[in-house]
Symmetry: C2
Subunit: 197 residues, 2 copies
């Protein structure tokens, strides 16, 4: 009652959406990923920074190079998903910041000249963008299977030779298959999460 978002959209994005562990054979096209991006690119970040980078793993060779770095329990589903996306933060995102924040181009040098500060900002804001992307996958009527069980250093070296990117999550994408999920695990109650001062 209290929400402006219609109930079907609530279900699609949150209430009935689940992390899929198996997928059907139906392919996921580039036009679907582009539609997702064109929607979720508007999600807010600090200074309008956009550190998120998305690598779509489509070739057999790239899939094999990725799977070897996944935790054992994630290898079968990473092998079987119609599409796998590597979500990473570009720690040199500040280079393009002046074009993305035209009213305050000084922000690049005022706030992001130190690598450690940049990297923390890329991680935080890249994670916000990763969440928007996951919501977007669901908005496309697809199931997302985000994973963080992998050798991060291995993936970074394998897919980002410049040393400037940090993987945030690997996401299986597709239509759910048979027995795609476990029963939903509990969530913390409102009073365990929210306090008022």
């Amino acid at each position: 009652m209290t929400l402006a978002l219609d109930a079907a959209a609530q279900d699609l994005l949150f209430r009935e959406a689940r992390t899929a562990n198996t997928f059907s054979d139906e392919p996921v096209g580039d036009e679907q990923i582009q539609a997702i991006y064109e929607l979720v690119k508007f999600g807010p970040t600090a200074f309008n920074q956009q550190p998120l980078r998305i690598v779509l793993v489509r070739s057999d060779d790239a899939r094999a190079r990725l799977v070897q770095h996944m935790a054992e329990g994630n290898q079968a589903k990473t092998s079987g998903a119609p599409l796998v996306a590597i979500l990473a933060a570009d720690n040199e995102f500040h280079e393009e910041l002046p074009t993305q924040l035209p009213h305050f181009p000084q922000a690049k040098d005022m706030f992001f000249s130190e690598r450690s500060v940049r990297e923390a900002s890329a991680t935080l804001n890249g994670a916000l963008q990763a969440a928007y992307f996951i919501v977007g996958v669901r908005a496309a009527g697809l199931a997302a299977g985000p994973m963080t069980g992998y050798d991060a250093a291995g993936i970074n070296k394998e897919f980002f030779a410049d040393g400037e990117h940090s993987v945030l999550a690997v996401v299986n994408i597709g239509k759910p298959g048979e027995d795609a999920w476990f029963p939903r695990s509990p969530r913390l109650a409102y009073d365990e999460v929210v306090t008022t001062v």
Copy 2:
């Protein structure tokens, strides 16, 4: 066309939603925040961990204690918003993990016994949850004004005396006021963000 989410919901959550810098006087009730939480609590995280904590700043005293730690450019809007929420990661989230991940209670000790690992995980997954919360604020028909311009150590000490929480963002919440936003700043093009291997 390609998305399952209806166009009105796309607009509400992403396309027409904007980061508000001014707000109307209309109050934001606890029942609205609870409705938001009951929706976005279902957003996925690694191991179903739920590090996000939300502090609703309602008293004048707490508002003043918060505003003093905000960057100068954020003080007026933090003072004027109908409601301000501090979003923080609980770096000791693993304590409740066995009850939130009942099929794999060993995860607590297998993966999160080291503080540095826990803290990185709380930051990443807390940021995912913060993004889901921002989407939820928009789903409630409200504008969110997330900010990271503040003295983080000051806020952590002021509002989380246990030393176990790290602020992720401070979010102004309400109906937008007059001249609530700048023109939208540019987003990176699809080809600048997405590559295929």
